[in-house]
């Protein structure tokens, strides 16, 4: 009798954690999207209303929030491409772990670049 479940390709490993990450980032992006359409809709109310609300976004805390949001989007995007590869590429399931590490490496590169550019613009004053 094994005392713990034998290892699987999925449970508790890269496959599972990427699935968890995909769900969480997806929900975060979805709720942001609802708010984002609402705030952009203020352009239909008046120029002042829109510019005032957008102006309230332009502070250091929101700059960090935007960076976190973009981090979620970039992960969801790259991991989504990995999911497509798992589903449609013949060897996708075999290389799903390597593809996840590729996703994370690309994510890191993009996020370093984005953070430097966005935070220096947002925090650097004007």
């Amino acid at each position: 009798m094994p005392t713990k479940p034998a290892g699987t390709l999925y449970r508790g490993r890269e496959g599972q954690w990427s699935w968890v990450g995909h769900r969480i980032t997806g929900v975060v992006i979805f709720f942001f999207l609802l708010v984002h359409v609402l705030d952009t809709s203020l352009v239909r109310v008046s120029p002042e209303a829109y510019t005032a609300v957008i102006g309230a976004y332009k502070n250091p805390l929101m700059a960090l929030g935007e960076t976190g949001l973009v981090a979620a989007i970039v992960f969801h995007a790259f991991n989504g491409l990995r999911i497509i590869a798992v589903d449609f590429w013949k060897k996708g399931a075999k290389y799903q772990r390597q593809m996840l590490w590729t996703v994370l490496a690309l994510w890191l590169v993009v996020m370093v670049g984005f953070s430097i550019r966005h935070l220096s613009l947002a925090l650097g004053g004007h």
Binding site: G26, S41, K58, I73, R117, L121, H126
Partner: protein, 170 residues
Amino acid sequence: MSATEIKAPRSGQSSSGQISEKTTAGGRIAPQYRRSGSSKGNFEMLSWLFMRLSGVVLIVLIFGHLTVNLLVGEGIHAIDFGFVAGKWADPFWQVWDLAMLWLAMLHGTNGVRTIINDYAEKDSTRLWLKIVLFAATAVIIILGTLVIFTFNPCPVVNGVQLPGGFCPAP
């Protein structure tokens, strides 16, 4: 008394050796083993396919959106009413943002629908969560679409141009 004939499961063979209607009606799979009932069709397969196709398009649309709005020029400092007005004065960005709105909302709604189906165990809970979800989605898609198409980049009130607009030179 004749011997009872025991047929192999899913053989689809009648006692006379002819292929029965039961197997041939649905193609290669006997109807009792098909996963989708006739009422649901292949909606779940189409939704699975939609997630992949819309996902690829959304990567292009959203990465373009983020680059143009946050990374180019002075980035987020440039965003105000005039910035939005300038973009939506151009049909290219109207179509871009409209496609992004619809695809992102449908992609996100379908994802949340999957999550509701996974975690809400009671039938009534699932039903109500999905009613709220679909209502929110309808409101956001209709609102966003109306804003993109009824938006006036050069608002004029009582004959006076409001400040911050994107007005053609007089």
